[in-house]
Symmetry: C2
Subunit: 279 residues, 2 copies
Amino acid sequence: MYPMDQRPIGVFDSGLGGLTVVKELVKLLPHENIVYFGDIGRVPYGTRGRAIIQKYAMQDIAFLLQKDVKMVIAACGTVSAILPKETVKSFTFPYSGVVKPAVQAACAATVTGRIGVIGTSATIKSGAYGKEIRAIRPDAVVIGNACPLFVPLVENGFIGPDNQVTQLVARQYLAPILENKVDTLILGCTHYPIIKRIIGEIVGEDITLIDPGKETARHAAALLQSQGLLSDRKAPGECAYYVSDTADIFEQTASIFLQTDSVTGHIEQVDLDSLQPTV
Amino acid sequence: MYPMDQRPIGVFDSGLGGLTVVKELVKLLPHENIVYFGDIGRVPYGTRGRAIIQKYAMQDIAFLLQKDVKMVIAACGTVSAILPKETVKSFTFPYSGVVKPAVQAACAATVTGRIGVIGTSATIKSGAYGKEIRAIRPDAVVIGNACPLFVPLVENGFIGPDNQVTQLVARQYLAPILENKVDTLILGCTHYPIIKRIIGEIVGEDITLIDPGKETARHAAALLQSQGLLSDRKAPGECAYYVSDTADIFEQTASIFLQTDSVTGHIEQVDLDSLQPTV
């Protein structure tokens, strides 16, 4: 029999987009406790330079480890794309970003080997998705395009399937993807699945959309299972949310990503100065 | 004869929008040195809570004071709206935000006393413009509306006068302003004058647009003049730019606000950890 581990799963993001991963985790592993950290005092990461993103990410991870988590999930496309491989290899705890699970799903889905990737500026500039895809499928053609307005559009509620502004922006951002005739498209930022219907209508039914949040939750569940780290709790798990700005701001936006009317669980503001500089 | 002061003028902003104030200052006071701090490692401020905004602003001011500036200009609508009056009163150096100069210009321009204000969410929520306006003109009717997408639209280059996305967003944001029949509109965020033509075409010629950047530069010049703090330098003044993320990011965006092809002057990245906690 496997050992059991009652400690929570740690999930962090630059802001609240990572809650899409929490939503999927709760579906897959309803008896697990989850600790979420959203760095809303310094969001967004996707427009920043590599060094700053790495620094912020390492502080976020250190915070989760203080909460005695059994695994860390970087539920942030930007962090997952920017954290150097050597850094990730040095981790002494189970870790997952969103890039690898999304890439595995995309490589399983594609027929033609032509894969599109959309994400923040930092994610696309990093080329991380392309590198991971070619490691699995060296002949793949990867077409990336940064969509910097999608995050503010989602966060400001421009998310209805008939929203003209988001439709117009999405048509511009997706044009180079469509011209390059991909058959699979990775929504490489946790915000993007929220406007999946708009994206899907523009690219059409023949292009498979990959949702990294869903894939990452599945990957994390499998990893915990294989390492014997699942909880044997009978009661439903609990979520605790920590944020680096006021809980008001969390509550205003969190429901977009959790897709619930109200958020249940402990919500607490963390002082940015209390974040440790390194893991 | 007045004393002279060769020290630089200090200007800061959450990001690079405050460069619109630098541009105006250089026009009005071409012999002055300017030190600019743009907190691009933590931009934007306008979506954050009051406590975080105040904390960041005090660090920015402390940084400028280390550079031995003779005056501090908060070239940021959000900071100007959020910093408490008692804090500003306690300053031992000449200081200007953008709210007061803009309000004075608006009160001089309005005939009907119906004034519109657009700004970030934090600015509009603070009610700072309304309070300042009613201090001068108690019978004024002030109509505020937050325009949270304008900053990312400008920063991502959606600024051409024919840009359909920005036109569509602006029509939505300006509708409540137009319904309330204002005769003066304060562009209460340093990013907004960049899309002044789009805003102007929607509101029409009968509404006077107030540009806080321009008004603040005028106000600062008058203040320095009246206190005998201008420089008597004969050569053109120099600008030094300090930013809290990489200079690359500064160079990509700065030209939008300075409205030049290339930025001349010293550009340097400041480590966020080196920022002092308080003034």
